[in-house]
């Protein structure tokens, strides 16, 4: 059940210009949280900015959760000014989280566009947990795509988890000069894998998701994508954050933010 917590900031660090990682002491949120869920954060005490900001949980630790975010407006600017010891009013964990399917597909492919790495990190940690014991483990590959090398995040973190990481930048300043989806196609074909053996976990811009859903048509049952949208309540009450799906409008805060890859209608 979602709870409201007046939590405490343990640490905040600016990783790259305008990109911050905050660690929040919140044992009950950490205990309940699953990868893919988010927290709804009050930014400041004022009536402006008014609404909470929904931010993906990046990492789930024993007694804390971490968020990774860019400063893009009033709310995130206020968040970025918080220091260790400051309080932070959060509601969460919210949303449905990723499903980790065991045993069916032999290749787990994480595709992150820009800040899409944030919801996928907790998932990556969950995939690599309990990797011991007889049974053949799926191959784990991560494709990180962004505009430039300054926008590529968490490459080392994914590598540390034993994941095969590949980078694509639009300007070629790091990794391959192409889109994340082009790199994904290249890797799958160069290793002679079949798309039907792949389970995709993706987060990133709509055009990226659209390409992936076309690639995985007919074999996407386990593949999932995390979405975001402007939110008011964050609880499923106001119907403000809907996305169009094969089964009609669904709430990103409650029915999502994780949906089956081919469920969402990508315009």
């Amino acid at each position: 059940m979602a709870q409201r917590t007046i939590a405490r900031v343990i640490a905040q660090k600016e990783l790259k210009k305008g990109c911050f990682r905050m660690t929040i002491e919140a044992p009950s949120v950490a205990k309940a949280a699953k990868p893919g869920q988010f927290i709804h954060i009050r930014c400041g005490d004022s009536r402006d900015p008014l609404l909470r900001r929904p931010i993906s949980i990046y990492k789930i630790n024993k007694k804390s959760v971490e968020i990774l975010y860019n400063v893009i407006g009033k709310g995130t600017a206020i968040l970025s000014a918080k220091k260790a010891g400051d309080t932070i009013d959060i509601i969460g964990p919210l949303g449905n989280g990723f499903k980790i399917y065991k045993g069916s597909k032999s290749i787990k492919l994480l595709v992150a566009g820009g800040m899409g790495v944030a919801p996928l990190m907790g998932l990556a940690e969950g995939l690599t947990e309990g990797s011991a014991g007889g049974r053949k483990q799926p191959k784990k590959i991560a494709i990180l795509g962004a505009k430039t090398k300054n926008h590529i995040l968490c490459e080392k973190e994914f590598k540390k988890l034993g994941i095969d990481v590949h980078v694509a930048t639009e300007d070629g300043s790091m990794g391959k000069k192409c889109l994340a989806t082009d790199l994904a196609k290249e890797i799958i074909s160069s290793k002679k894998y079949k798309w039907s053996e792949v389970c995709i976990y993706a987060a990133g811009p709509m055009p990226m998701i659209k390409v992936l859903s076309v690639l995985m048509e007919g074999c996407s049952l386990e593949s999932q994508v995390s979405f975001e949208e402007k939110m008011a309540c964050g609880l499923g009450a106001c119907l403000g954050c809907v996305v169009d799906t094969q089964a009609g409008y669904k709430r990103i805060c409650k029915d999502g933010p994780v949906f089956n890859l081919c469920e969402v209608i990508c315009e």
């Binding site: 009536r47 402006d48 008014l50 009450a237 106001c238």
Partner: protein
């Protein structure tokens, strides 16, 4: 001595004059783990229509200075599914349930009212004639004659307490309020959202999929207060006031302007406990002012 917070709207007995606004609280269950719903004076449902509505194209939300725009488009499962699936959850809080209804014609309003009239779990009906998001040529709430017809139609179909919710997007809100009163409305609630817009200059598009939306939140409070004040002097039936109430101080302002009951809406998104905090704050204020009964401050603005 504990001040008396009990009040009454039509036949609805409320243990305090605080409710939550239609559209901001779903059907209650979404907020259950975050606020003590059973402490509210009443709960008002999301607007129900005769048949299910899919709602407007996203994006449906945009933040504005000290406020927000919404363009939900009355997405709802229709009255049948509401009665079967949503009302049971609302009823279990054991507080008065007011169902907000809307239709495309007075016949539709009448049909919904008829269905709700049979159900003991419903204590009141709030007629939504003022939602600015449906594509009609004129809002019912902008026309005295249409307003009167709809209220008459609903009153003819039910003995339950009928509340007419007014739109601020009008030239003369007193005349609309009087039309509702003449037609038998038991109470008036106001204000609904103000038609407004927000623009994305990068995309050169409206921030809302539906282009326009309804403005709510602290930014509209001064407008809402004025309209409550005006309508209080225009009708004799009780007034339910709303528009940007964030805390108990805001609520007291509305009561001094003439509201018998106050409603918390957008604030629920910011602080899920805003409504119950208003109740507590109101009680403390009355104690501090040595006022024995909350009804004693209604319309007591000194002029």
């Amino acid at each position: 001595m504990k001040p008396n917070l009990k009040t009454k709207i039509g036949n609805i007995e409320m243990k305090n004059p605080v409710t939550v606004a239609s559209g901001t609280f779903g059907y209650g269950s979404e907020f259950e783990s975050l606020v003590d719903i059973k402490n509210l004076g009443a709960i008002v449902s999301k607007t129900i229509t005769l048949n299910a509505r899919v709602g407007n194209k996203p994006p449906r939300i945009a933040e504005t200075p000290a406020g927000m725009l919404n363009s939900i488009g009355l997405e709802n499962p229709g009255v049948g599914k509401f009665l079967a699936e949503k009302l049971p959850a609302m009823a279990k809080f054991r507080i008065p349930v007011i169902v907000s209804i809307a239709g495309e014609s007075e016949e539709e309003y009448r049909k919904i009212a008829e269905k709700l009239d049979k159900d003991d779990r419903v204590q009141g009906i709030e007629i939504n004639i003022s939602c600015p998001n449906i594509h009609t040529n004129e809002l019912i709430a902008q026309n005295e004659t249409l307003t009167a017809k709809v209220v008459e139609a609903v009153k003819s179909a039910t003995k339950k307490t009928v509340i007419t919710k007014l739109s601020p997007n009008v030239t003369n809100i007193i005349s609309i309020a009087k039309a509702a009163e003449r037609s038998g409305s038991d109470a008036i609630s106001l204000i609904n959202t103000i038609t407004a817009m927000a623009v994305d200059i990068k995309k050169k598009e409206s921030k809302l999929g539906n282009i326009t939306g309804g403005l709510s939140g602290p930014a509209i409070k001064p407008i809402a207060l004025h309209m409550v004040w005006k309508v209080y002097h225009g009708v004799k039936i009780p007034i339910i006031g709303m528009g940007g109430i964030m805390d108990w101080q805001d609520a007291i302002e509305f009561m001094l302007c003439g509201a018998r009951v106050v409603t918390v809406g957008t604030a629920n998104f910011v602080n899920p406990e805003a409504s119950t905090e208003v109740i507590r704050g109101m009680e403390d204020y009355l104690k501090a002012e040595n006022i024995k009964d909350v009804k004693d401050i209604i319309g007591k603005l000194r002029v």
